[in-house]
Structure formats: C-alpha cells, structure tokens
Symmetry: C2
Subunit: 767 residues, 2 copies
Amino acid sequence: MNIKKLVYLGLFCVPYFLKAQEAKLIQYVKPLIGTARMGHTFPGATVPFGAVQLSPDTDTLSYAVNGQYNGDVYKYCAGYQYDDPTIVGFSHTHFSGTGHSDLGDIQIMPTQGKVQLNPGTADRPQDGYRSPYSHANEHAEPNYYRVLLDKHQIKAELTTTTRVGIHRYTFPASDASHLIVDLTAGIYNYDGKNVWTVVKVLNDSTLVGYRQTNGWSRTRTVYFALRTSKPFKNYGARYGDGKPVYNGFWRKFDQQNNFPDLAAHNIKLHLDFDTKAQEAILMKVALSPVSMKNALSNMQEEAPDWNFDGYVKEGQVAWEKELHKIEADMLNKEDLVNFYTAMYHASLMPTVYMDVNGEYKGLDQEVHKAEGFTNYTSFSLWDTFRAFHPLMNLINPTRNADIVASMMAHYDQSVLKMLPIWSHYANDNWCMSGYHAVSVVVDAILKGTYQGNAEEALQACVQTANTRNYEGIGPYIDKGYVPDDLSGTSVSNTLEYAYDDWCIAQLAKKLGKEDIYATFSKRAEHWKSLYDPSIGFMRPKDSKGTFRAKFDVLDTHGQGFIEGNSWNYSLYVPHQPKELMELMGGAQKLESYLDSLFSMELPDKYFEHTEDITRDGIIGNYVHGNEPSHHVAYLYNITQNPWKAQQRLRQIIRNQYHNGHAGLGGNDDCGQMSAWYLFTALGFYPVAPAADAYWVGSPLVKSAKINFENGKQLSIMARNQSEKNVYVKSVRFNGKPLENWSLSYELIKNGGELVFEMTGKPDKRKH
Amino acid sequence: MNIKKLVYLGLFCVPYFLKAQEAKLIQYVKPLIGTARMGHTFPGATVPFGAVQLSPDTDTLSYAVNGQYNGDVYKYCAGYQYDDPTIVGFSHTHFSGTGHSDLGDIQIMPTQGKVQLNPGTADRPQDGYRSPYSHANEHAEPNYYRVLLDKHQIKAELTTTTRVGIHRYTFPASDASHLIVDLTAGIYNYDGKNVWTVVKVLNDSTLVGYRQTNGWSRTRTVYFALRTSKPFKNYGARYGDGKPVYNGFWRKFDQQNNFPDLAAHNIKLHLDFDTKAQEAILMKVALSPVSMKNALSNMQEEAPDWNFDGYVKEGQVAWEKELHKIEADMLNKEDLVNFYTAMYHASLMPTVYMDVNGEYKGLDQEVHKAEGFTNYTSFSLWDTFRAFHPLMNLINPTRNADIVASMMAHYDQSVLKMLPIWSHYANDNWCMSGYHAVSVVVDAILKGTYQGNAEEALQACVQTANTRNYEGIGPYIDKGYVPDDLSGTSVSNTLEYAYDDWCIAQLAKKLGKEDIYATFSKRAEHWKSLYDPSIGFMRPKDSKGTFRAKFDVLDTHGQGFIEGNSWNYSLYVPHQPKELMELMGGAQKLESYLDSLFSMELPDKYFEHTEDITRDGIIGNYVHGNEPSHHVAYLYNITQNPWKAQQRLRQIIRNQYHNGHAGLGGNDDCGQMSAWYLFTALGFYPVAPAADAYWVGSPLVKSAKINFENGKQLSIMARNQSEKNVYVKSVRFNGKPLENWSLSYELIKNGGELVFEMTGKPDKRKH
C-alpha cells in the first residue's frame, strides 16, 4: 500500500483519537532514551516502521582488520552514543537496539571552509568533517531531530517520510558551504566492507547512486536519489584508497571536479554552495532496494515539495495514530514517558522494504513485486518472537500479517528453503539460535491475523525445522538434542527448537495434519534430553549421550548457551512449564529456584561474560537485558506463590526502564525489551507466544484502553494502583474472575473490561 | 527480435543460397587465423554478433598490482594465444581483435582427480586445474570448437546460441570427475578486478549467479544460469582471498560443501561427478545483462534441450546465411579462406546485449526494454567507423540501424549526454580519440539505413561534439585545435574531430539546419590549424599558438598522436583530401610523400613505439596494423598516378592477410582490419565513410555477388584477374565507365554490374 494513503487515512482518523484523549501522545516520546551505553537506540527521525531512519552518527569506525573486528564498534550498533562529543554525519538507515549491526547508509554532513572528506577523530575533529556538539543544543522527538553543529555553527534538522530523509541545514554566510556525501561511511564499518559505489549527477541539484556492502548482510545494495533545494555551484568527488587499475579513461575527463558519471570502490562527494547568513539549504534523500529510478519515484511520490515542517507534521500525525493504539493512564509523567517511548521503540522495526510501486529485492537477489501485502525487512526473530510479534498481533494485526507474508516471500525466495532467522535487506545473517519465524507464523495463523495459505505456511515451518545441515538440526532430530561436540550453543538450540517444534505441532493440529502433529509433538519434548536431574539444570550432552563433565551453571560463555547461563536458560520451556516444574521436583522446587535466581549474587567474573547488558541489567542472577529470561518472573504463577511474580515484575519494570538517555539496561533488541515493558505494564504477558494464553502479572498502568483494528476496545483498569500497591488482589474480565492467572486472545479480541484490584499486601495463601 | 526467429528464417532462406552457390562457405572460415601474436582473435564458438563467445583461454593472468598493469596481459586480449602450451578454461565472453580488454566471464574447466581450484602456471600445469593440449587435437570452425585436454584425456567441445554457451565434455571413467567454475577468472585480470560474485544452487543440476567487475568497463555485472545434463553428486565452493569479516554466519552451515547460497568477493566452485568411460557431460551456461532469472529464461528460450549437435548446426546455418551476404570467387582456396575468415571476423562484434524478453542494462545502470530494436554493445568506434560500419550499411543495414538505435539509447541514458566512444556492457571506457559514433550515425542516416528520428540524432551528434570538458573539445572549439599542453594526443584529436565535425555538417545540411551546417563546416577545417608548412607535416601546437619545438615525425610516442606517427597521421583528412594535397603543395608532392611513406625504412627504435602490430604489420613506414593509415593507399587516386594505389593495395592485401594462426599483422580491431580487407578485395573503399563515395582500388576477387537486404544484387567482375594483373585498366558500372575512380552508394544500392578490366601493366598516363 502507498504509505501516503496511510498517512492521509491517519489525517482523518487522528482527530477522533485526539478528541477522545485530548492529548498529544508524542509529547511523551523521548527518542534519546536508550542512546547511552547499552540501549543501542537511535535518536533521529523516522515514521512508524519507516524504511528511512535519518539519525546522527557519532562514530562509525572505519579501520583495518585481519578477519577480526574491533570490539569498540559494538558500541555503535545504532551509530550514536550519547556520551560522544562529536557528530560525524547524518545517515539514513539504522537498526534500533541491536547487539550487532550494519547500515548507516548515505551519510551527509554540512560543513564550511576547506573541503574535508575524512571524518577525523573524536579527539581531533578539526582534522575532518565531523563537528563537536552539545546536548544543550540537541532536541529529538518523533520524526524530528535538531542539533547545532558547533564547528561552523550550522543548525541541522532532520525529518522523514517512509522512504525519504529530509534534511534542513541552516548555514552562516559563506562562499564555501558544503554538503559532504560520504558513501564510504557506514555502521560496523571496516576496510573492504564497501564493495562498490556509484553516483550519477543528473543536474545541478539532483544525483542518484548506490552503495553496495559486504557486512552483516553479506550482499546488500542501497539505491538512492538525492536532491537539494538550491543548486550546487560546484561539486567534486574523491575515491578513497580504491584506485582503479584501468585508469585510461581518467585522462579523458577531470573526474574529480564536476564529473557526473562516477563509479568506484569508495566514492565521497562534496556539494558546494554560497550561503547568506541563516540561509537554509534543504536536501531530500530517497532510498530504494531496487534501483536509482525507483528511488527517484519514491521521492517524487512521497516528498514532492520542500515543505520541511509539513513532512515533520505528516510523520507526527502517523506517530499519533500509532501511539493511540494504546491509551494509557499512568501514575506519573515519567511512567507515561517510559510507556510511550516503549510504544515508539516497538514501532520502529521491522521496516518497510519496498518501493512505492511495490517492487523490492528478494532474498534470491531478484526484483519482485509485492502483490497484496507490504514487504518488510529486518527480522530479529530470536528477540522479537517473544513479546514484540504477540504485541503486533494485538495492536497491529494487519502489519503483522504483512510481516508474515514477507517471511513467506523470503521462504519462497530462499534457495535453502528456510524461513528467516535474522534477515535484513534481502539477506539472512542467521544470527542467534532457534528458528523462531515458526512461532510468529503459527501465532499469526492461530490468532487469525494472517489470512494467507495456512497449509503452505505449515509446509514452510516444517521445511525450515527439517534443514538438517543447519546448526545441528540433523542430530537434534536423530538424537533428541543438539550434541555439545557439534555446536557451541547446543543447549540453547535444543530448548528453542523444542519450543518452535511445539508451535508447528499446534498448527498441524489445527489443520488436521496428524502425522506432522505427532512428529512435532514428540520433538517438542526434546528439551527433556538435556535436563540433568543430578544437578537440576539443563546441561550440554555429547553425541554419545554423556553430559559434559566440566560445566559451570553460572557462566554464559562456552557452556552451550547464547546470551544466558544455565541458571537462566534452564527455565526456557515456555510451552511446557509445568512439565519442567515436575521434572525439577515440583512447585516448591521451582519457587526456591526462582527465589535464588533473583536473590543470588552473580560474581563479576561471570557478569563479564554476560553480553549486551549493563550491570543494571541484572537482578541477582536474573538477566533482564537478555531475552531468554523474559518469561521467567511469570513462572511464579505456577508455584504456590504467584504474588512473587507480581513483586518481581514490578521490581523489574522499575529497575530496568527509566527516563533519560541511559534508560535501558540492555539492547532494546528491535522493540522486544519495549514490548515486554508494554505487556507487563498492561498486566499480562505471552509466556509461550503461540499458545493462546497471556499470563497475568502486575499492571503498572492506572488504566489503559487498547484500540483494536476491528474497532473494539479492551479497557484495562487497575483499581487502587499505586507505587506500593504492586500486588493483585483480584482480576476480572467483564466481571468474571480469571482462572489460573490466565487470559486468552479469544476472550479479549472483541474487547471488554479487564479489572485488576491492586493491593499493598501480597496474597500469601497457597494457590 | 528473438534470435530463434532469425535462425528459423535462416533455415528457410539458406537452401536458396546454397542452391545458388552450391557450396558451404563455412568451410573457408578458419577461426584460428589471427590467434597467434597480434591478431587477438579468439578461436572458440559463437553465432553472428552473438552475446556469447565461448572460447578457450590459455592465460588470463591474475596478479597483484600497484596502480600499474603487467604488460604481458596485453597478449591475452582474446584470452587465447596460439603458441601457449596450456588451456586454463573455457569462458563465455571475448572481444575479437582488441588492443585492450576485459571479459572472460564464467570460466569452466573439466578436470579429474583431486579438486584443484587454482589455475596453476603454464610451466607447472600440474599445480592447478589447467591442462596441456596439442594443436593436433584441436579443431575450430564457426560455432564449433574441439580440443583434447591432455592432462586427464578429457575431450572438450563448445558451441553456442546467441545467449547460451553449450559445453560437451567427454570424460574417462572416474569417481572424481569435476567441472570447475572459476568466477574469479577473467581476461585482463588483476587483484581487485573482481568486485563481487554470487551463486545460488537451485537444484542438483542448476545454478545461477553473477560476476561483477571493475575493469576496462568500470562497473560491469554478468548474470548467468548454468545447467548440467547430469546431476552433480556433490559440489563445493572456495572464496579465494576475499574473507568475509562478519563471519558469524559461517558457524551456522558448512559453507564450503553443498551450501547453495553463496556470496563473496571471489567464488570458485567445483561440481563433482562419477563418469563411466567416454561419458559425455553437457553443460549450458546462459548469460544476461539484467538478472539471473533472465539468464534462466534465455536458456529456456534458446537452448531448451541437450541436442549439442543441433545447436552446432543451428549456429552454422546462421553463419551460412551471414557469409552468403557476399558470394566471392577468388584466385585460390587460400584467398577464399582469407575472404570468408574476414567475413567471419567482421560478423562478431558488436554483440547482442539484451535478453530474449528485450530487457537490457543501460548506461545509466538501470534496466530498460528495447522497443523496436535489438540492443547491441561493444563499440570500438575509433576502429570500426572507418570500414566496418560502412560494410554493415551495405550488407547488414538492419543490424547497423539497430546499432545506431543502441547508440541513441546510450546517448539518452548518458549523464554526460554523449554518444558512445568505446562502450561495452553498459559502460564507456572512452578509449582512443575522436567522437566517431557521429560518423556512424550520420552515414546510416544519409544512406537511409537508420530510419529513426534524424533531428534527435543530429542533436545527439552536436551535443557530443560540444562536450567541452572532454579531451580538449573546449579549446578545440575556441582555438581551432586541441592545444599540445592540454592533451597528449592533441593532433590525433584535432584531425579526427575535424572529420567528425564534417559529418555533422553533412547531416545538418540534409536536415536544413543552416546554423549547425555553418558552424560544423567551419570546424571541419580545423585540421588546417596543425599543418606546419615549414616541415610539411601535422605538428602539435601549444595554447599560445606555437608549434612544438622538439618534434619527431617518425615517433609514435609522445608526439601528440595515438597509434600513429606524424608521417602516417598527417594524411588523416579523409573529408578534404584535395585541400590537404593543395596545402602540401599539390598532387606531385602528395605522390612523393606517399612514395616515401611506403618505401622508407622505419628504424627499430621507432617501431618499438608503434603499438598493437608485429614487424610484418608495416610496409616501409606505412602502418597497416593501425587504423589511421587505412585510407592512405587510396590517396594515390588524387595524384597523377592512381596505379600506385592499385599496386600498393594489392601489396598490402597480400602482405597483411594470410591463412594460418599468425595470419593477421595487427589487432583485427573488432572487424575493422577484416572489413578493410573485404572492401579492398571487392575493389573499393569508403575513404570518408559519411561521404557517398567509395574510392576504387584494385580488386582481389575474380568475381563476387553482394546480396543486398532489399533483394537486389551487386555483381562484381574482375576480368583477367590474376596474381600479376593487379592494375585496373578500366572500371564500368552497368556498362558505363566510372569517373574519378569513384563509386557511390546511391549508384549501387539497387544492384547492378561492376566490371573491372585487370591488367599486368599500370596505366602510367597522368590523370
């Protein structure tokens, strides 16, 4: 669908919501939250799920490597670190909250004076085009970012449409004002990452081109079209170190100055202007996954004029509409900021990955046309299958169905015949364990969100789960577990495959595929293979069936897990938690296990091996900053003391989410951390996403209204909500008490009233 | 147009020709002619103007460079050198007769035993996949090539359709037979030329992919689809030195063995088979300029089955049709071989550059669809404007019109707004001097061959000629010459621009554009600026108007010329030869100048600077191997002794063209040397191509029939033709004596009889 239509739809719908709420929700969104330390969010401008994320980069580290990458680069997953003193430029693509990265495409920097085409270093910004800046002169809100670049006193303002970044640079007077276009810059950069760059200067204010990289995405090309509001008086190009060997044609033209037909390994450009005092030069940069001409069409369609403020407003109208999908009343403004910033962070990815004409590049590296759906990319599924996609099923079902359709297209185009693992920009980087697209696909079909061919989807899930040569799946099928000697993450994989297999069984059951149901129901119990009753933990086992002798249940590194030690990961059986509990010795045993987890001390030497989080990201040995623990506090619900879940959940939500730039204790992980917050703040959580059961916790909202796409509303009320009243005395849906602290999608999907009675005293009766 | 239609058309037409001539002309074509030393032709299989030239490469030299390229690589412009002892593989794209190169894409080599993925060296073939071979076991004919690879006694046979290379490899028995697919191999190769490679293995006998290079064409991508007649039992890949830095995903799969989803800087593959004794495995490789899926479609459309011999025959039928455009009777079989091999070499380039569905990649790097024409690429215009395109106008007018249409598309897609200079594969390498597309375009319009919009074409010519920042055009316009201090080829450029400008004036005149006619008629005389009457030669002049003091009329190097010294180049005023003669002092002066040119001794030190030719390629100081001299012998026609033209022409044609692998004295230059031969053998030559005048020389044919596309025939008869009777006593067209040794297209285009009376005694009466 043409995003402009969506926006226009938004223009008509939003006033209704505004009237209902009489508040602008974007005021509560602080894009700078999470930009310090480990949050890895970006502060720049974007529209909901937009293809362009136009944001400042404070470093992108270009450096030589020998098969190894510099650890420092990890800081710059989103291109920006709040504590950095300089900005190198403004680029158009950013992941939000990842723990590995890519992108940072088509970096622009306004400068004055002598042309400098290298960024320089943070401690010597005078050696390059980068500039110091001050947070006092920086402002970020949804779809608008502003900063004053101190070096030349240039004001930079950014906004976007879905596929176009719009820049406004206000210069002091000079006959040497420049816009630097550095196509070699990029996030997680290194020598050789740039594969190829092309630029064609079409006229005195328009150029097109592309940047091709070999990064986390092995083979990625971003096409662009760039237009300035004022003609450049002159322009020039340099080619970095990538000298052409056949340089005969260099004699024919002066190819460094005003030469419009450029192709080389590493193109950097400068566009030169005369500027009067406080003269604003605008620039539009449209992206396309397909071609330069599609990028030009995207620009023409989405951003035909130079009304910068109009584009800001259009995007903010879209944001209001997105944020109004949940109208929350909280205890205080700080909580509103946390809540709506979480809504914001959970509405950035996946991103639209097709042109206005519906064309996109598929996983097969061919151009396709999306028929009947919007194609999305950037699926961080190991993170997002847990809470993000279940949240989408509730508040964004059409978009989630399009995401599933995009995954099915990925599968169709996959020469491996696999659903995506961690895919972005027509590539899969196969990051993390499991094959969790299965969970998203099954959940969307079972909840009725995805209306595509369910049998084909089941086939895709089965085929993916039977990719024998992928990450130990063959031996997993044969032996019931991934052997320790064949995989460094044998336990994570075994546990997660088992959950995913359970999802497949559920879909097979619904479709009456008895064989598949039987096969995958059996596989769903494979987690049992790795439970070692002698120590009461999950433990790696070798091909011969022997548990690993030397094993440290506290260590995250080299023990058969990824982003989690055995203490945390042993609880990862979301589909069969009671069976796990029985194996562990019953409710009492599970409860004391959880008590220990939250209260024990994790020695520093173990913390150092815990990835992607800050010291604040843990409570005892419970690691909230990494996703395998996200369902853990809810497990108290099946012990005799569910109140402990309520207590711990309130503790976690207070401890792990703050206003301020360091407000996230770990990577936001493409909205998963935020989606956890939103579910938990609303009082329930999808422990096993593809099961129709939300587990009730302790709401943080005073009240909330979820506006479903079907026009119905789920109203949530937390009576006697307060900072101290963290315990749930009772919970009723449409007046009827809930059983087993559980709520179903079937129950709430047509709206209704969910009422919590909050209290300061836990209900310590055994349940 | 679908080439299959052309072929089928051929099937119906050819029997008519065969009946008429009752001979197979392909028997006279020896593709091995010119493959030794400087001819730079390739011996492999192709159809007329085919997109695929499937041919053995004896070396492609991959080596490290520091901004310099190894001179040795020049030997391998066509990939093959007759005297080499080994073959490295069979690749799908080859220029014919160039003096610089590129291509050699998708190289295949059959081997047995241990998998070797490096070519090894010619003196130690056992270190790599290359194999020794013997010319005794080698055979080449149009669209069929065969060789026995000695190392493993594998017979290799090659044939093609327009867009598909078809291989047949007959193996000895082995459980380790291989087809090596080396995507890093290429002609004029060097470290870093490969920009990127991609392979997707679709099933056990099909793969698709692409190879992207930065070579003579700066930014070139060749897409391919490959299918084997027998499933491979196993396959594997290696990546050369281009290690990926983000190697996280390498843990997920074994990416070296049977991994179908490959993308890296330098992919090499081995496909493994069991073979019985004398088992033939066939392979089809289809190319596309646009996409892998188009390559698959091309294969499906053109080569749907495995009938190798059928494809050989289809192509040979097309060759018979092409060769029958001139039916010649010669003095002996050697001459027939020279004649039809010249016909063959003049029917290889330009090559079809679009898919069966009409899609091609444009100069703007976008995908276009050719509407109403076949798109061609590889225009070596500095060479081919002279005789090759005039020949096309006579015998291949539809194809020449499509070539002009392709040039106009190039112009439309050019951000520089220039017609092609030396363009190939959606790029221009701007090689050599002049803007000679102008000559081709104007000639095709004036002769009525090109029926497109003439005014647009004139505009394209004017715009190209006014590209002020290209190779001194600005100062050329302002001062009347390219200044020596601004260009290393100031004289060549000035002379050639002047001719091209004259062409533009002729078209302007025809279209009634008085202003353009006046402007360009004036520019057509700019050659006069550089004639130095004090020495009687063209001479470089600096910006201040001073002739260069230190100047050597014999040296080709650094004197303001390219591929020619002042002795040869000073005669390059093809449009105003009489004015040149007057400036030189009249007919007598010109005659003695020519006499000296042909009879003087060129010292070795000067020959060493003469590019692209062997010692045989010169007569005195006349350099036939380089194109600026191609009209020179005909200039005797305006002196008082035209018989000297006849004498020298017979000498040149006897001296410069031989049967045998070393039969060409210089680069064939994409058919220009061959087209010169054909015109001269027929008895006339287009001295100024865009003028309607063929200058009469001395025919070599006994008789010939040119079958025009309009169904008419030009019959040529050389009465009393013999080895000794090189002089023309009289020449009549339809019984009427010709005036001034000149013939016009207007006169012959509807056929007729051209009769030469040959004699052994020159007509020494002054004319």
